[in-house]
């Protein structure tokens, strides 16, 4: 069958959609991860905590689907990326899943019993369900930039360097941890922005604004530091030789090498890409100003920062998706790790049909739930189904 988009174009479109999925997840579930990370600190008494939890209570479940959809879409469009990353980050992935499993349960079960010890335990479970994934997702992106120690044999079976413990500890290099902290800072900024917008006026909202100020500042400094490290210390990857964008996806049909400063080369080649890191930095500053004034500007800033930071990672690494540190030729790139031409086309049609529908009804739900959450609502005086 003749498809009206050529294979190379579809690969680039799906690389863009990968970015949109990550953005969808970070921008929506980012609220929930950030709010849960803030929960034990901005809210101390039980009704304060219920206020915070109920501010995301009706929405977090829909937000989380971006994560599930991300998994499914990577599986469908980038099967090798799905296979290499999740089996390569095996133990880290288990920790993320365990933390994320605590989250739905924490939301639903926490307020079912009056017992303070029960509630306090679930509050910490919710904290873990927010903070741990926020940290590990960042660390994973950092490791993707550093390269993963894997190689492919000629049947495409992968093998990894590092055992059960060492493999996990090797993920915790300084640059990767820095990336983890950038992620935590930007998501806490985003969560604090949510609380400033959604909570009734009062002490909890004030605390969120104050934490948000520091988080926005941290996000700015840590992200800038990451850029400096890419310039002076952390090597990137680049393709050597020419590549046909329409090639059948087989990573072993190319050459690649590790090179100093390679992750910044795209900005020299395509200067307009510089807009991504600029947004990342400017967004943090806007958020900082917003928190000082306790206005919705904080949320605009945090959303801008997240967008800029995620786009920066994509712009730096293109066309690499998962470079291999021990065998650069095995690296997975946009050109050689996608699904077949037909699957990419079919899935694009599905995305074009369903994403607008999803955005439409999500917007409708937001509209129904518009407005600040009050303690009265949150503690069940109105509506016994509150968390």
């Amino acid at each position: 069958m003749e498809l009206f988009l050529d294979f190379a174009t579809l690969k680039v479109i799906w690389w863009g959609l990968l970015g949109i999925l990550l953005l969808g997840f970070a921008l929506t579930d980012g609220y929930d991860l950030g709010v849960a990370s803030l929960l034990p600190f901005v809210a101390r008494k039980d009704e304060e905590r219920r206020l915070v939890i109920n501010s995301i209570g009706p929405m977090w479940e829909g937000h989380q689907v971006w994560f599930i959809l991300g998994g499914g879409a990577i599986f469908a469009a980038w099967p090798l990326v799905y296979a290499v990353s999740f089996s390569g980050f095996y133990i880290a992935m288990f920790v993320v899943l365990a933390a994320l499993i605590l989250r739905p349960v924490g939301f639903k079960y926490r307020s079912k019993l009056e017992n303070p010890a029960w509630r306090s335990r679930w509050d910490w479970a919710l904290f873990i369900g927010g903070f741990v994934p926020a940290l590990i997702f960042g660390v994973a992106v950092g490791n993707a930039m550093l390269g993963i120690p894997f190689s492919l044999d000629d049947t495409m079976r992968m093998s990894y360097e590092g055992g059960l413990i060492t493999g996990f500890l090797n993920l915790l290099s300084p640059f990767a941890l820095l990336a983890g902290l950038v992620s935590v800072a930007m998501l806490i900024t985003h969560g604090a922005g949510w609380l400033v917008v959604k909570l009734e006026l009062g002490i909890v909202r004030d605390r969120a604004a104050s934490v948000g100020t520091y988080a926005a500042l941290a996000s700015f400094i840590l992200f800038a530091l990451g850029g400096v490290l890419l310039l002076v210390m952390v090597d990137g990857y680049r393709m050597t030789g020419s590549v046909d964008g329409n090639m059948l996806p087989n990573p072993l049909r190319k050459e690649a090498e590790i090179a100093n400063g390679a992750w910044l080369a795209n900005y020299a080649r395509y200067p307009w890409m510089i807009i991504a890191p600029v947004l990342g930095l400017a967004g943090s500053l806007i958020a900082f100003a917003g928190f000082r004034r306790k206005s919705a500007l904080a949320m605009v800033g945090s959303a801008t920062a997240i967008t800029g930071i995620i786009l920066s990672v994509g712009a730096s690494m293109f066309p690499f998706i998962l470079p291999s540190s021990i065998d650069p030729a095995s690296s997975l790139t946009v050109w050689d790790s996608s699904s077949s031409h037909f699957t990419l086309f079919f899935m694009l049609i599905m995305a074009v049909i369903f994403v607008p529908i999803i955005l439409f009804y999500t917007a409708w739900v937001y509209k129904v739930l518009w407005g600040r959450v009050t303690t009265e609502e949150a503690t069940g005086a109105k509506g016994e189904h509150a968390y």
């Binding site: 209570g57 929405m59 479940e61 829909g62 689907v65 599930i68 959809l69 998994g71 499914g72 879409a73 599986f75 469908a76 469009a77 099967p79 799905y82 296979a83 990353s85 999740f86 089996s87 095996y90 133990i91 992935m93 288990f94 365990a98 994320l100 499993i101 605590l102 989250r103 739905p104 349960v105 939301f107 639903k108 079960y109 079912k112 049947t155 495409m156 079976r157 992968m158 059960l164 059948l248 996806p249 087989n250 699904s339 077949s340 037909f342 699957t343 079919f346 899935m347 599905m350 369903f354 999803i358 009804y361 999500t362 739900v365 129904v368 739930l369 109105k382 509506g383 016994e384 189904h385």
Partner: protein, 534 residues
Amino acid sequence: MPDLLVADLSRWQFALTAMYHFLFVPLTLGLSMILVITEGAYVMTRKEVWKKITKFWATLFGINFVLGVATGITMEFQFGTNWAYYSHYVGDIFGAPLAIEGLMAFFLEATFVGLMFFGWDKLSRPAHWMVTCFVALGSNLSALWILIANGWMQNPVGSEFNPETMRMEVTNFMEVLFNPVAQAKFVHTVSAGYVTAAAFVLAISAWYLLRGRHVGLAKRSIMVASAFGVLSASSVIVLGDESGYVAGESQKFKLAAIEAMWETEEAPASFTVVGIPDREDRETHFALEVPYVLGLIATRSLDEEVSGINDLIAEARKRIVNGVAAYDALQRIRANPEDAAAQEAFAATREDLGHGLLLMRYVDDPRQATEDQINAAADDLVPNVALTFWGFRFMVGIGFLYLAIFAAGFYFMNLKRNLPRWYLHIAVLAAPLPWLAAEFGWLVAEVGRQPWIIDGVLPTHLGVSSVSAGHVITTMVGFTALYGVLLIIEMRLMLRAIRLGPSGGPVVPLGGGGISDAIGISRPATPHADPYDK
């Protein structure tokens, strides 16, 4: 060659997490439909009673739902963590239904479920009912896409192997979507979910009646549950997914294993009701047989044959030999993609490549396999007969039992207007059985198709990730501990919510008018004080 221990451990972990996930899914599927019915009654009659009933079952739905969601997260990523080679090999086809499930179904369900709980005061009656409908639609569509994915593993249509990319690629998505195995599985699985939920509602309501509490709520709920249950149980029995088992090669093994049928019989074959399958001697001891019935069930005809295990092994052996030729041709193509003779040989044998790969359990290069190894690989194609045989019988037995229970409930409630205490006891005691039936159903379907992860395409042991046994043991211990704790907490909260009953005091007692009274089309329920309704 992948480690067989890692493969076994990964299978155990998959079974553990999938079966645990499936403790919650059937109830979500069915209870969401029951909420649509009870809230529909509220929208039509505007009686507060139905709102209270809906809210009560919604509370239990919520406690169950979150664990389904939480454990579903593991399922979405486990293919990547533990079955990386599988993910590479078939992601081009298998990934699509998972992604579409997210796009079409799970977003719908998850976005509206929050509003279903939080939106009672924010939405009009019909708008809230619509939200509940979206939750039910989302969860049922979710099952559709997951079973399209699973159906493709059982009967991999619409795809072929590409030597350049070393994986299966889609040739026809429509065949994948309209796969007969997937369709049969979908109807069967959601019906099983409806039976589970109807049994759940029936049991809790019966318990209330035995204790004389919440009589109004309980009787109305039994009315809904028994009618819904009769329909679902009929559907689950009539539309069993056995009908799909004639489609694929391993499905023939599965069908033969379900019947412990060692030799092919002349059509129509007889049905072995009970017996003790013996794999060593290849016969079923103490078999109690009913003539003709199997042929009718399996082929829906009187003259089509059902193959016995021994004949299937002999056929499969030929395919393994042919698969070695396919493997050889593939190696030659990979050495020289222009080799026309190799391409021709591969085109002639590619259907059997998977059978050739079965030998990799014994040798690194299937071309080096001995006669004994080929015979062993053919024998491996027989699944665990005893488990498949008995699992199927438990499942079917429970299905028929529940059809009887629902029919009796419908009869007592609507014609006799009175539920005898012995019946209520049975309804309470039988409650765990639908879950057991669902788990047996999963075992029959998945154990019955071993040693394949993709029927005829990829042997299970080749699908695993390149991780160590230590990795898998670590996560298996972790999941077991986490899931164990969560299950205890869930049961505790569920029982507590059941003990507390509907919030805001007792529901108006039900008069003697059966269904017409319950939905308020004959006359208002008499507001007399029900002595049991405290």
